[in-house]
Amino acid sequence: MTRLDVWLDAVFATTTLDESTIVFLKGTALAQWVVSTPWVWPTAEALHFLGLALLVGTIAPLDMRLLGFMRSVPIAALKALVPWAVAGFVINLLTGILFFVAAPDQYMHNLSWWFKVLFLAIAGVNMLLFETTQRSQIQAMQPGDDTPGALKAIGAVSLVSWLMVVYWGRMLPFLGNAF
């Protein structure tokens, strides 16, 4: 962890892009509003945790099915829960933007935040692969069928990467060099 922090510091030492971004974001009206209104941050935090539960709770059953559990449940039926996972994601994206704009230095200079972003990207690419390459696979499946290896891999990557997003997000105040 420490060595990676040194590496992150070294990267930021080569550029002033981070400094100018921080100054710009902190000067926006949105940042001023978040900082000067006491109820905004706690309310956004509460929403961020509700979004987290909604996202993980509605995507995990689909991931479990992709891994081969509860084979009598059609994958298409479980996909009906996905819009609720998307709703959780949107809540967390919006509240996350509030946090980031109000305290950009605490996030940009913290390695935990970059790990969180990395796992968000992995989860996103994984979901795109699921939506674009697996449609015919899913349609060909009969009730009770086990899932092929590719779908098992997608389910595992999704479950692990969302849990990693939660892990790095919650550990953010304690790991790395910010706060």
């Binding site: 706690p42 935090e45 509700l50 509860m70």
Partner: protein, 155 residues
């Protein structure tokens, strides 16, 4: 009562949770508490939504495992919650918001078997009006538990 809380706060374990300069103390316990929340509130939300009509093509019988999943999340959070409480018992034990959260969690825990029994009956597995009421209450109660829990850090 206050002596009891003071003794707990002074214990070696509580001191380790509160002051241990390792990520395995307070940070990891708090993160496990968040994972437990995701499992409990998440599994509960997924089941409530199904009962309330979202994804009505999901068969009910194969998703009964969401209930043991809720208990795993609850067990994890009862244990990690007790650990977090031990780190700061005098403050938490005298805070109204914490008492409100505990009461809300108890209501939620009572609702778990009520909801399960309302759907998975001996004669049939089906969504009844009673099950819908319990599901809506459940969604509301665990939302309130999450919000009050998160707000304990601020008020």
């Amino acid at each position: 009562m206050m002596e009891l809380l003071a003794a707990l706060e002074a214990s070696a374990f509580a001191t380790w949770v509160r002051e241990g300069s390792t990520i395995w103390a307070y940070p990891t316990i708090l993160t496990l508490h968040t994972m437990g929340l995701a499992i409990l509130v998440g599994a509960n939300a997924a089941f409530d939504l199904r009962v309330l009509g979202v994804g009505r093509h999901i068969p009910l019988a194969p998703i009964e495992w969401l209930f043991p999943a809720m208990w795993v999340g609850f067990g994890l959070n009862a244990i990690t919650g007790a650990m977090l409480f031990s780190a700061d018992p005098i403050e938490k034990g005298t805070t109204a918001l914490f008492m409100v959260k505990l009461a809300i969690v108890m209501a939620g825990v009572v609702l778990i078997p009520l909801l399960r029994r309302a759907v998975y009956r001996r004669t049939a597995i089906a969504v009844t009006p009673l099950a819908k009421t319990f599901a809506a209450l459940s969604l509301l109660v665990w939302t309130a538990a999450t919000v009050t829990g998160r707000w304990m850090a601020y008020w």
